[in-house]
Assembly symmetry: C2
Homo-oligomer: 173 residues x 2
């Protein structure tokens, strides 16, 4: 497929990575998975993404070893990040920080902290207390002053509760 997915002529790790996560919506799907969303319907409600595209992205990410798909009830699946997928956290954090820096007039929308140190991460992703770049398993997320209240779907509401990354979402429903 010359269009869309591949960058065959580029001898470059970046091009290979983009073939996996460079398509429209893919990064936002991964963001939701880091935040704890796991089910097809929750992803669809939160992202306003066409169902066909969501199906395509999820199966592709499973094929690439970024996600696993487990049946939690006949015909119903949960998608969770594999270790390989969790290694994308620094990329998402860096890009999010970049967006925040030039596009959040009311202050940060979300604040991340290193749970063991109880210290908020600095823009580089480092914990100011221990100097490490914490993995997502050790990061707590909570809303910041820049986060709006426009979205009122169950998933958006649940995501406004402070919680640990990767822990399954508890919707009010």
């Amino acid at each position: 497929m010359a269009l869309g997915r591949e960058y065959e002529r580029q001898n470059c790790a970046l091009a290979r990575a983009l073939e996996v996560v460079g398509e429209r919506w893919t990064i936002l799907v991964l963001r939701d998975l880091f935040f704890g969303v796991r089910r097809f319907t929750d992803l669809q409600a939160h992202l306003d993404i066409p169902r066909a595209v969501l199906t395509d992205r999820l199966t592709r990410l499973v094929d690439e070893g970024v996600l696993t798909r487990t049946e939690y009830r006949r015909g119903r699946h949960e998608y969770t990040l594999t270790p390989h997928g969790r290694e994308l956290w620094p990329t998402l954090f860096a890009l999010s920080t970049w967006g925040e820096r030039h596009n959040s007039p009311d202050g940060p929308r979300r604040i991340f902290s290193h749970a063991p140190c109880k210290a908020d991460l600095v823009p580089s992703g480092q914990c100011p207390s221990c100097g490490e770049l914490p993995p997502p398993e050790e990061i707590d997320i909570r809303p910041g002053p820049g986060l709006g209240r426009e979205r009122t779907d169950q998933v958006s509401i649940a995501l406004r509760e402070p919680h640990r990354l990767l822990t399954p979402l508890r919707t009010g429903a």
Copy 2:
């Protein structure tokens, strides 16, 4: 434009960032700019990208304040990263590292080092000597064992020489 560029319903810095750099080819254009490529023709030769798309991406990145366009000779322009654009380096480094980790059987394709410390960066992007996350201005790049020799265009050849990021490319031509 509901398709392609925007993610209007997402109240999220990541979505805003993706509206700027999330389109096909954009990240690879930025990579080349970090590596020192500055001219339309060089970008086109190195990326094998349709000229119309390259034009579109460059003007869009200029509009977004990621690049500046300067005329170095009547009708000829150079594109260089603004400070805002240079802040994308951690994102590109992180994504490139991720791609490298699972897709470079022959070892790394490119090796980055912190120039003042003369130390190779570890996967997190940190300098093992000083512990900092160096900005691109302080990073030297050189080919690693995994970098193939397939591409023989002038730009690819010039990029195989060790050099400092952001310094203008010297093509043999």
